[in-house]
């Protein structure tokens, strides 16, 4: 695609074989293209992984994605140049964005949760829990300093704080084909913790 890029893989110590594969990839493509680092932590929080990842990143833009999704990264750069955005966020809810293999119940919960979020937080972005985003490096650093939540509430907080700080946010429709290898859980616990996170953001931002 003509862009210079490097891929940084952060392994959180989970026993799913990521590390061995990552090290092999590093041997194949060279350490300037693939950088692997290991952090051992008992609690996985995406925030910790980002902090470690950023220390090793050398580019001007940082794309953060879950390793089990598939997206066209170049689309994000096109969008960013279009409007010189500080952040480009993937959305499942607009354009030809969407999901695959979701039953009605899961779609309903997703849309319902997003509706409540829009009413309470008015975040200026249509999809807050998306895990595929492009950030300008300085923007990501600034946001990392300010955000305090954990898990996916952290994702939401990033966007809310970004809007407060006046950063511009562009959106790109994404096809969310999740959990190609494995089960996704959306039980009562997830819903409760989402609501707790939402109310915390509501009261503190």
């Amino acid at each position: 695609s003509g862009n210079n890029f490097e891929i940084i893989i952060i392994d959180d110590g989970s026993p799913d074989g990521t590390q061995e594969i990552a090290e092999q990839l590093e041997k194949i493509y060279g350490s300037d293209k693939i950088v692997t680092r290991e952090i051992i932590s008992v609690l996985f929080s995406s925030g910790t992984a980002y902090i470690h990842g950023m220390k090793h990143a050398t580019g001007n833009f940082i794309v953060i994605m879950d390793a089990d999704l598939s997206h066209h990264v170049s689309l994000y750069f096109i969008k960013q140049k279009e409007g010189n955005f500080d952040i480009v966020s993937g959305t499942r809810y607009k354009g030809n964005g969407g999901v695959y293999g979701w039953d009605l119940k899961r779609k309903l919960i997703s849309r319902g949760a997003n509706f409540i979020t829009q009413v309470l937080l008015r975040p200026g972005a249509s999809d807050l829990t998306g895990s595929f985003r492009l950030y300008r490096k300085e923007v990501l650093q600034k946001l990392m300093e300010k955000c305090v939540s954990k898990g996916y509430v952290f994702q939401m907080e990033m966007i809310v704080r970004a809007r407060q700080l006046g950063y511009t946010i562009g959106e790109v429709p994404i096809s969310f084909v999740d959990r190609v290898y494995g089960e996704s859980k959306l039980g009562g616990n997830e819903i409760v913790s989402f609501l707790k996170g939402l109310l915390t953001l509501f009261a503190t931002t």
């Binding site: 092999q24 969407g98 999901v99 309903l108 309470l120 084909v177 509501f202």
Partner: protein
């Protein structure tokens, strides 16, 4: 100002306006029909908002895209990538 603070201010403003006009302390008396119409206004607004919410979520649920081609494309990409990596020496 946090979102919570914004909401509380907004509600306080509207609430006191409504209380002043509808519950009418003697100083601000409006003609009786107006007061009677204003009295149930909060409940009406709540119900209206409830209906709007249901309609919006229902519409968005119905128009939630399913990405069949993207899923198929992803599987192809995965197979191609596995093949390529296998040739370069990756052991799964």
């Amino acid at each position: 100002m946090t979102k919570l603070a914004q909401w509380l201010c907004g509600l306080a403003l509207l609430g006191s306006a409504w209380a002043a006009l509808a519950l009418s302390p003697p100083g601000l008396r409006l003609p009786a029909p107006y007061r009677q119409a204003l009295l149930p206004l909060p409940v009406y607004l709540l119900v209206a908002f409830g209906c709007y919410s249901l309609a919006t979520v229902g519409y968005r649920l119905a128009t939630f895209n399913d990405c069949e081609e993207a899923a198929a494309e992803l599987q192809e990409h995965i197979s191609a990538a596995r093949e390529d990596l296998r040739r370069r020496g990756l052991r799964f």
